[in-house]
């Protein structure tokens, strides 16, 4: 177990390292001089020079990377060039990550509440009408883009509900839990329902997989009641791969929250990065992308380690 953890951690480091090189190179794949691109049409020669020095653009590429990476490790994510000129990027992100985190967690909760029970029922009634119906529903759910779900929700409920709440917008947690949850409700449903379709499909196929296992047949042959086999053996074991897949698809939630934030005009990381893209604010783009990738790699790592710990074979040998 110890060597496994070590191996996984050691494997995550180079991935993060190379991903950071890619993020660093974003500025350099941009056509033209990065500083001029960053500063946009208004070019102050003094500022150009200052920025060139600050970024060390006269240095060789690998040294530039080391300076940039060193700063990132020290927690200095750079200075915003246009979204909020002169503001530290770290500050911009810390003002906004809460919204995205809340949206993602809320959506995940909604997705699990829908997906786990329907996935289980669908597998237990495999190839019966209710299974077919829920599978088709899941496919439909995957197919409707979450921004369209969001717009439909606004059309269905928003025009009535949001009018009394004020259209879209965001109320921080500190200014009232009730109105915060009110504002987050529709966005979380929009993101959560489309994600639930993904999770439901995994839950179903994972259940079917476990149901075909020998130990299930053995347990049934030994006269264990069906309901207790389902509860004790199947669902518990089927949830394990689902946990992994939820971890692996955290990118789906993060990418989806960018779009959802735009639909509902929420001031999260997603709307920050879109703002930065339109205004060509490279330090902000780099920082947000790097953070998203790092979060994803770390979550994957944690989930992989959890998976190893939860491995059914290990459980089985210890309980029998």
């Amino acid at each position: 177990m110890g060597t496994y953890i070590l191996k996984r951690v050691l494997l995550a480091i180079p991935t993060l390292f190379f991903a950071s090189i890619l993020v660093f190179l974003l500025v350099h794949i941009a056509p033209g001089d990065p500083v001029r691109v960053m500063l946009g049409p208004v070019q102050d020669p003094a500022l150009v020079e200052k920025l060139q020095q600050k970024l060390g653009l006269d240095l060789p590429l690998h040294q530039q990377y080391l300076i940039w990476a060193g700063n990132v490790i020290k927690g200095d994510l750079g200075i915003s060039t246009s979204v909020q000129r002169g503001a530290p990027v770290g500050e911009l992100i810390s003002q906004r990550y809460g919204v995205t985190l809340e949206l993602a967690l809320f959506a995940l909760l909604i997705a699990l509440l829908i997906a786990v029970p329907t996935g289980i029922l669908s597998a237990l009634r495999q190839n019966k009408p209710s299974d077919h119906i829920s599978r088709v529903f899941a496919l439909v759910g995957i197919s409707i883009p979450n921004f369209f779900v969001g717009i439909l929700l606004i059309l269905l409920f928003g025009v009535v509900l949001l009018k009394s709440w004020g259209s879209g917008g965001f109320v921080p947690f500190s200014e009232g839990v009730g109105s915060n949850l009110q504002r987050m409700f529709l966005p979380a449903i929009a993101l959560g329902t489309s994600y639930s379709a993904v999770v439901m499909r995994m839950m179903r196929s994972s259940m079917l997989d476990v149901m075909g296992k020998d130990y299930v047949r053995t347990a049934r042959a030994m006269g264990v009641k069906k309901s207790s086999v389902v509860r004790r053996d199947i669902v518990r074991n089927a949830l394990i791969p689902v946990v992994t897949v939820i971890g692996n698809s955290i990118g789906y939630l993060l990418g989806g929250s960018v779009v959802t934030e735009m639909v509902f005009r929420l001031p999260g990381i997603g709307s920050l990065v879109m703002n930065a893209v339109f205004r060509r604010d490279f330090p902000v783009i780099q920082a947000v992308v790097l953070i998203i990738v790092a979060v994803r790699i770390v979550v994957n790592l944690v989930v992989d380690l959890l998976y190893a710990k939860l491995d059914p074979r290990i459980q089985y040998t210890s309980t029998e």
Binding site: P14, T15, L16, F18, A19, L22, V23, L26, V27, I29, A30, P31, V37, Q126, N127, V136, L139, V140, I142, S143, I144, P145, F147, F148, I151, L152, I154, L155, G158, V159, K163, S205, L208, M211, G212, V216, R217, R220, K226, V230, G251, Y252, L254, G255, G256, V258, V259, M262, V263, V273, M274, V277, F278, R280, I285, V289, I292, V293, R296, I297
Partner: protein
């Protein structure tokens, strides 16, 4: 010896034909893939015949009769007497025509991106899988891992953010926005194909027929191209179909975010984005028409791909009873 060789070749050809024939039979008998296939076919026809089917020029702005204002609801007419079957947008353009041309642009982009990703991903995956455990495998799969650590949409947004929106001059060559999006999608998705292709190749490599071909002195390239790739066609078709769904989704998301086709070119995602400002005044058709077009296209590909996968993997469809 010679005769045996000939016999083996015939058997081999039949085996290949068998794989594809069976795939086709299963496709026809599966309701899901059949429904998906019909939806996809309708979309392909709409895309190809958009200029013939559209009732109007997608960028023409019609005038409104006095006392009315854009967007006009479905089944109304403009001042010139143009009949809006599915309504008009904020500039008085015909929504049905814009949706048809938007579908055309969307599918063209998706087909190009998927074909290119398939091509690159298949080569990467086949080479890695065939040389399992070698440094080549290690390098290719490392690259794949790194690319996959980026969520596809986030990677696409970052790359487009760096390259800039609209036309860009790269090394003296003007690159259109559509082409840029295509490349970005290829960068995001080719690694996924590479992974699928590698695992399929690993399975195929251990099959007897590969060993037989090798004993008979076939070169590596020949084995990869003539033996392995043929047998991996069915799973690759499934992945390609499912990826069409994802590509349509991601390109629609990018247009919705304002990173895709630039106005006034008709784009379904842009239409949805514009419609956001008209939701509260009740202009539902403005958003619903492009949204339904996008969703149905994705649904068609998902149904088709999912149905094909079922027929490919009968194990999944087999009844499990406890």
């Amino acid at each position: 010896m010679n005769r045996d060789n000939g016999k083996a070749a015939v058997q081999e050809r039949e085996r290949h034909r068998g794989v594809i024939l069976e795939f086709w039979r299963n496709f026809r008998s599966n309701a899901l893939s059949l429904t998906g296939g019909i939806i996809v076919a309708i979309f392909v026809v709409m895309a190809l015949l958009a200029p013939l089917l559209s009732p109007a020029d997608p960028v023409k702005q019609f005038k409104v009769s006095s006392g009315m204002h854009n967007p006009l609801p479905p089944l109304t007419s403009s001042a010139e007497g143009h009949f809006f079957l599915l309504g008009s947008d904020k500039y008085g353009r015909d929504i049905l025509s814009r949706a048809l041309f938007g579908t055309r642009a969307m599918l063209r982009l998706a087909v190009g991106a998927v074909a290119l990703s398939l091509f690159i991903g298949m080569i990467m995956g086949a080479v890695a899988g065939y040389n399992r455990g070698s440094w080549l495998d290690e390098v290719i799969m490392r690259i794949v891992d790194i690319m996959l650590s980026f969520p596809a949409l986030v990677l696409a947004i970052a790359l487009l953010g760096a390259l800039g929106i609209g036309e860009t001059k790269i090394a003296g060559v003007t690159v259109s926005n559509t082409f840029k999006i295509m490349i970005v999608i290829v960068i995001a998705y080719a690694p996924r194909f590479a992974r699928v292709m590698r695992s399929v190749t690993l399975q195929e490599v251990s099959e007897d027929y590969v060993a037989a071909a090798r004993v008979m002195g076939a070169s590596d390239t020949r084995i990869i191209v003539k033996e392995i790739i043929i047998n991996t066609i069915p799973p690759v078709i499934v992945q390609g179909t499912l990826m069409m769904a994802e590509t349509v989704l991601i390109s629609a998301s990018l247009s919705f975010l304002g990173l895709g086709l630039q106005p006034p070119a008709p784009s379904l995602g842009v239409m949805l984005n514009e419609a956001r400002d008209y939701l509260f005044q009740g202009s539902w058709w403005y958003a619903v028409v492009p949204g339904v077009f996008i969703s149905l296209a994705i649904l068609g590909f998902n149904f088709l791909g999912d149905g094909l996968r079922d027929s490919l993997d009968p194990r999944q469809a087999r009844r499990v009873k406890i």
